[in-house]
């Protein structure tokens, strides 16, 4: 089922949660809505589900305008971070719920419902827990049951709200891989919300990066990591540092000094220079970013230095090669090998 979101606006009592969001999701795609809390990603998901209604804008399921349909009529599968399993029902009854509550005419026979529920338990790799109650399952198992319950109604779209948010790291990684497998098997159009960039990049076909109720960038994981469209995306996905610079005659200046970098067509004026800690080379000479080491830390496989740069003491982070001697107070000069410049007004500061 294709999903088309056109100019969606949602205003709560005082503050607007979404400012005109448009998004096309292709049938069978696995899409992540990624952003910090308050970015509007969960609101967008609840609007698609029909748990909230938009102030303006449209939601299309294929050729059907679903904007005014109730959550009941939309036929979506929803999974909450908190599982929301029916606590007084067994696992099997939980999964069968969506089929059992159908009106008489479209309800499958009892035996067929039971078989479907058992098949789904098999699919989510939890055979043998059918008669248990939710309180007797671990968090990861509950989330699997919640997914099986959502799949039972043959949803047009599968919507997951921080599905692994309440689980510990190891279980998260396992379930991530498992969700990808389920998705490839069943082929449901799936949208999931997460604030975990690693989860979004690893799992999704496409990532929608959101901030303050707007979409910052839509792209596949490589695109959003390698070609961030804004300073926000640069900062939010992966490690990066930024410096306020000026672009003059296609040269990048920091506090009036040339850094030996080309403007790459960036409009003259104030701009933000973004780069990742691993994309730096150490240089000698004055056309470079020069700073003093504040601290050196070990981040898994690299040594990372925090540098104070310039009179305003901007803090940037760079990775040190094994051969670079650095301790507190060491002066270092470097130039980013890969970087991006964003004109100041573009990011709204």
């Amino acid at each position: 089922m294709d999903l088309r979101i056109v100019n969606l606006v949602k205003a709560f009592d005082r503050f607007p949660a979404l400012h005109g969001v448009s998004l096309d999701i292709r049938s069978g795609e696995l899409v992540a809505l990624l952003g910090p809390s308050g970015s509007g990603k969960t609101t967008l998901l609840r609007l698609i589900a029909g748990l909230e209604f938009p102030t303006s804008g449209e939601i299309w399921f294929g050729n059907e305008n679903a904007s005014a349909l109730s959550v009941r009529a939309r036929n979506i599968g929803f999974v909450f971070q908190s599982y929301a399993l029916f606590r007084h029902m067994t696992v099997l009854d939980n999964i069968a719920f969506g089929l059992k509550v159908r009106p008489m005419a479209s309800r499958p026979a009892k035996s067929a419902i039971r078989k479907r529920a058992l098949d789904l338990l098999e699919l989510v790799q939890l055979p043998g827990v059918a008669e248990r109650f939710p309180s007797q399952l671990s968090g990861g198992q509950r989330q699997r049951v919640a997914l099986a319950r959502a799949l039972a109604i043959e949803p047009r779209v599968l919507l997951l709200d921080e599905p692994f948010g309440a689980l510990d790291a190891q279980v998260r990684r396992d379930l991530r891989r498992w969700l990808r497998e389920i998705h490839d098997q069943t082929g449901h159009t799936t949208v999931f919300v997460t604030h975990d960039q690693e989860e979004a990049l690893e799992l999704a076909d496409r990532v929608v990066v959101m901030s303050s109720g707007r979409i910052e960038q839509i792209g596949n994981p490589d695109e959003v990591y390698d070609e961030p469209a804004s300073a926000f995306v640069y900062g939010f996905i992966g490690d990066s540092s930024s410096l306020p610079v000026a672009v003059e005659d296609d040269a990048v200046m920091l506090e009036g000094r040339r850094l030996g970098l080309h403007g790459n067509g960036c409009r003259a004026g104030q701009a933000v220079l973004c780069f990742r800690p691993q994309d730096v080379e150490f240089v000698t000479g004055s056309e470079a970013v020069a700073g003093r080491v504040k601290t050196v830390r070990r981040v898994l496989n690299v040594r990372r230095a925090e540098l104070e740069v310039g009179r305003a003491r901007h803090t940037v982070e760079i990775d040190l090669g094994q051969d670079v001697e650095a301790r507190r107070g060491t002066a270092l000069s470097f130039r980013p090998r890969r970087f991006k410049l964003f004109p100041m007004d573009q990011q709204g500061t």
């Binding site: 029909g50 959550v71 036929n75 029916f86 007084h88 969506g98 509550v101 039972a152 109604i153």
Partner: protein, 283 residues
């Protein structure tokens, strides 16, 4: 030994004194009166006891009390569910005002609760003449007793359910709707099973109060023997007439109701407590 004492635990002597104090207090103020009720009831033998209970006026009082409870409790069951549903699951303006109003019967003296119905429906009341013209009698009749009882016992069910429903939130309901359940099926299959123990607990307390209510009912009843006399009122009348054995016999029935309520309440708390613990394990 005292070294290994739990930090919040008092010395043995202090413990004993405190416990003895509470036990003595309970014995004098609760157990002793309860024993006396039964002792006095059986003072003239088992025969007189049952004679007092099977007296036509006593039977009428018992019947009326059961009738009033049979109307007031289901009514408050419905009102209570509706009120707590509205307060716990929806956001609307004036919610806190409604929440406060529900407690009103607890904060108003029962006598006042009865009096407002007299002022409203009585012969000299606001609606009195109109009601009289249409042949409806509320005050000094059963409807008045039912109304006063409903008023006084209104908060019990709602007070029990509101915190429970608020704690449970609306996630499961949202889930049921997204799975295609209708509003009614969502209530029946998801909401109701989640609150059933709390509901039963509220109903139990509501029932105990409905049967035992004296003040409000006394004002609107008119004490017409065999017609508008409930059990608590009947006890008072018998006592005032120096029929002590009969008065205590009827009182012993009310005392037994209290004991049964207490036992069931403890059973429910035991059961209910387990449910609460389960909820904590499974948010």
């Amino acid at each position: 030994m005292s070294k290994h004492r739990d930090v919040t635990q008092e010395r043995r002597l202090v413990q004993c004194l405190l416990i003895a104090g509470v036990a003595l207090f309970l014995a004098i103020f609760l157990v002793l009166p309860l024993v006396i009720v039964f002792v006095e009831a059986f003072r003239n033998g088992v025969r007189t006891y049952f004679e007092a209970l099977t007296d036509p006026e006593s039977l009428a009082a018992i019947r009326l009390t059961l009738l009033v409870a049979a109307i007031a409790v289901p009514a408050n069951l419905l009102f209570g569910i509706a009120a707590s549903w509205a307060i716990a699951k929806f956001d609307f303006h004036g919610k806190s005002v409604l929440n406060t109003l529900i407690d009103l019967p607890f904060s108003v003296s029962p006598v006042i609760s009865g009096l407002i119905y007299v002022l409203l429906f009585g012969a000299q009341g606001v609606l009195g003449p109109w009601l009289e013209a249409h042949g409806v009698q509320i005050i000094f009749a059963v409807p008045g007793i039912v109304l006063a009882t409903i008023f006084v016992t209104f908060p019990f069910v709602a007070r029990e359910l509101i915190p429970l429903m608020q704690q449970q939130g609306t996630r499961e309901e949202e889930m049921a709707l997204s799975l295609g359940a209708s509003g009614f099926k969502t209530f029946l299959l998801v909401t109701l099973p989640n609150i059933k123990w709390g509901l039963l607990y509220g109903v139990l307390l509501c029932n105990a109060r409905a049967m035992g209510e004296f003040g409000a009912v006394s004002v609107v009843s008119g004490h017409i023997r065999g017609v508008t006399n409930t059990m608590p009122l009947h006890v008072e009348i018998l006592y005032n007439e120096y029929s002590f054995a009969a008065a205590f016999a009827v009182a012993s029935l009310l005392a037994m109701l209290a004991l049964i309520t207490l036992v069931m309440k403890s059973l429910l708390e035991w059961r209910f407590g387990a449910e609460l613990a389960a909820r904590k394990r499974h948010p």
